[in-house]
Each structure stands twice: as C-alpha cells, then as structure tokens.
Symmetry: C2
Subunit: 236 residues, 2 copies
Amino acid sequence: MAMSTEFDVKKLADLSDFEGSLAARVYQSLKQAILSLDAPPGVALRKPEMCTRFEVSRSPVAEAIARLSAEGLVEVTPQSGSRVCYLSLSDFHEAAFMRSALEQAAAERVAEVRSEADLGALARSMHRQKLLAADGAREEFYLADEAFHELIHAATGYARLSAQTEIVGLHMTRARRLLLPGQRRIEDTITEHQAIFDAIKAQDGAAARAAMALHLNQVTKLIDALSESQPGLFKP
Amino acid sequence: MAMSTEFDVKKLADLSDFEGSLAARVYQSLKQAILSLDAPPGVALRKPEMCTRFEVSRSPVAEAIARLSAEGLVEVTPQSGSRVCYLSLSDFHEAAFMRSALEQAAAERVAEVRSEADLGALARSMHRQKLLAADGAREEFYLADEAFHELIHAATGYARLSAQTEIVGLHMTRARRLLLPGQRRIEDTITEHQAIFDAIKAQDGAAARAAMALHLNQVTKLIDALSESQPGLFKP
DNA sequence: ACCTGTCAACTGGCATGTCAGTTGACAGGT
DNA sequence: ACCTGTCAACTGACATGCCAGTTGACAGGT
C-alpha cells in the first residue's frame, strides 16, 4: 500500500527532550512526530504502546491526544480508536488562509511599530539565512526560516500571536514537509524574506503585507503542484 | 473589594444543556460562565466543588480545565490551584488584533467568492437584525450579530475558520461583555454590518475588508474608553 | 505589634481500576 | 464461495486512589 498503517514508536522523541508536565511532554513529542510525518497520516495511536514507550501511565497520554484532537491533528472515535488525521488539500488551504491572514497583519503592524532593536534582530536573521544558504545547510536554514517569522511575531508586541499562528497553520506546516526544498527554493525564500524585511525597514505597511502574502503563497503553489503530480497523496 | 473572589457554582449551566462527552460538556459550561463573566476574573475554580455541582468525577473536570488553560482563559498553578484569568487590556488588544486579521481576510474572500445563496443568507440576516433592533430585543440582537459573522465565516467555505476565530478572539469576547450595548450602538452596528454586506454584494474585496476592520475597531474604541473611565477593571 | 517557623488542609499531576461501545476474526449456515 | 451471527479482544471515557508541592493559619519567639 502507498501509506503505512503502522508506526514505530521508537521514532518518538524522548520525553527528556522537552519540559513541563508529563502530559505536555507527551503532547510535544507526538506533535513533532505528526508534523514531521514520522507518524504517517492515518496511523493508529495505540495508548498502551505509548505508555510503554514513554514509561508513563495512560493519563498523560490521554490528555496529550485530547489536545491534539482539539487542534485537529488527530481524530478520535469514541470507544474505537485514535488516528493521525489524513492529509487533506482543503485542510491545507484553510490553514494556509488563516496563517496568511495572521502573518500579513503581523507584517503590516511590525512595519508600522517596529523599534530599531526589532529591525536589528531581523537584519541579523537575514544575514544568518544567507550564510546558511551559502553553506547549503538545509536543515539549519529551515530553522532559521521559522525563526525569522517568529521574530516578526515577537516584534508585534503580541505575546500569544506566534503560538496561535502555529496552531491555525498546523495543517499547512505538516503538508509543507512533503516539499523537499532545493537550493533554488532556499534562494527564492531569501529573496521573499528580503522583500518583507525591506518593507519593514521602510515602514511601509502595505508593502510588508503584500510581500508576506506573496511569500506564503509560494508554499500553496508548490503544494498544489505536488497534489496534481501525485494524486492520492491527499485524501478526498 | 471590587471584584468577588467567590463563585456560585449554581450559576453554571447544567450539563444536559450541551452534548458530547462529559468532559466536553463541562468545558462548554465553564467557558460559557467565564465568557459571560458569571465566573468573575480571578475566581478560583475548585475541582471538588465542580464535581459535586455536575455530579461527575474529577477526570472530565480536569480535562475541561486543561483545555481552558490551553486557550488562555484559565491559569493553572501546579499543586496550587486554577483560577479564571484576570481581564487584561493587552490580552484584549491582542485578541482583537488576531480576530480582526481573520475576519478581514474572511470578508475580503467572501466578497470575491460568494454565491447567490451566501448573499441571500446574509441579506436575510441583515433583515432579521433590523427587525430585532426595531423591537429593542437586545439579547436576541446580540445572537443575530454573532450569527451574521458566522455566516461570513461559513461563506468562505473554510469549515474550521469560525471555530478558530472564536478561539483567538476569546479575550475580546469576554471583555466585550463589559459593554452594555445601548440602542445607539445597536443601530451603529447595523450600519457597519450594512457596509460589509454592501461591499460583499458589490464583490468589492478591499471595501469588505475595510468595512470589517472599521466595524471591529469600534469595540476596541469602546473598551479603551471604558478602561480609561474605570481604571482597575483590567489588571496591569 | 511584628516577624518566623511549623504544620495541616488543599491542590493538581499521575497511576490504576472499571465499564460499555466498537471491531474484526471466525465458525456455521446457505 | 458467500453471507451472517457470535464473541473475544481492544479502545476511549470515566471513577478513584495516591502523592508531592503549595499555601495560609497559627503558635511562639522577639
């Protein structure tokens, strides 16, 4: 079959990699596995298996799965089972729409209210991205990419914005893992980030919004192309 | 003291008013109480009290509080207690920012993709709002107001948008309860809704976005004025 | 009157016991 | 071979038991 229905719990990150309550750590470990597609869409999440894997009881596992269910990454059928949600093109589009709405608003606001310190942090991030791209450090560039967006969220002065943006965009983040970014896409990303940065520097809110919209729309284009070349990747 | 620290559990809605699992029902009942300010900010949520009130065990109550904590309505101090979050002007502004971002994007999209059926539903909603306003039915108008916004969310075709908008805007919704809308505000609301509707009808995305921004900004203005006239309502 | 150390009552986090609904394998009839 | 009724194994939901950390009242020293 095209998609495995089993899931090796050994791939789950150890709880010691996270902090907080046991339930919070189980949640983070599972979310990481789901978003990285290590836990493939459709796979059954067996609580007893998780309990032995993490060496915890069912309580923290149940709470973690309940939270993932509330966020739409896991679907729970009462008295039957829990499984990782299938990839869905409509879920992706919806997540992309909501995330884009929040990020456009954030970029526009940051352009208007940014401090010199914010601008400096963003400039350092741009510099770092270019260095990593030149080194071909793809994994680190991915992290720097995310960090750039988080810097923009932070510069709005809204503490919860980053977390909320992540939640509404979860289905986009997961689908994005299907794309293996080549050197070309990395360079395009930097160009798009540069446009956002320039608009923020110039305190041009409308331009920052437009540049952010353009940037996030690239992922949508790539996913749409992928779904056409590989029908069956996404559920109806 | 200005704000009660006790909370009469008798004000909680019965679980039979909701559907789903016990945990889901407890969650809805508590959320309703928090958003309506029946559960005043800062009040301690005592689990044993809830258990006797709802006649359930601690499990569903714990899950409900965990979810409210994840959404930011309740703050949990491990081994100490859980309390309803205090009203915060910054939380309000943040929620208003995020909700406005999503609603502006929704209004813009609906203006562009609306069907005739969508337009008809919105027109009926406008008509109903005017009738209720003429009757002075304030509580029903409040519900019709919310329904109008939900119709716009639904018309985007994005199934989760409405729920996500509600979540990111929770702190705005709660603070809004401090405002007792007079006849004047109701008429202003209708005027603002009409502007949104007209722009959607005219398929003018930019106008719909602007009208929605203007509409939601009114609440911010009123809350800001309230916080100035009554300092101490909001925590630092 | 004011600090301060003690301790009992309370809290949330976690482990575990129990139960009813779901499901899939399988036996038996067609 | 196919349909079908049965049932055992599994699941999630909920109840309950236990423990450690927190807190506030209070006694005793200053």
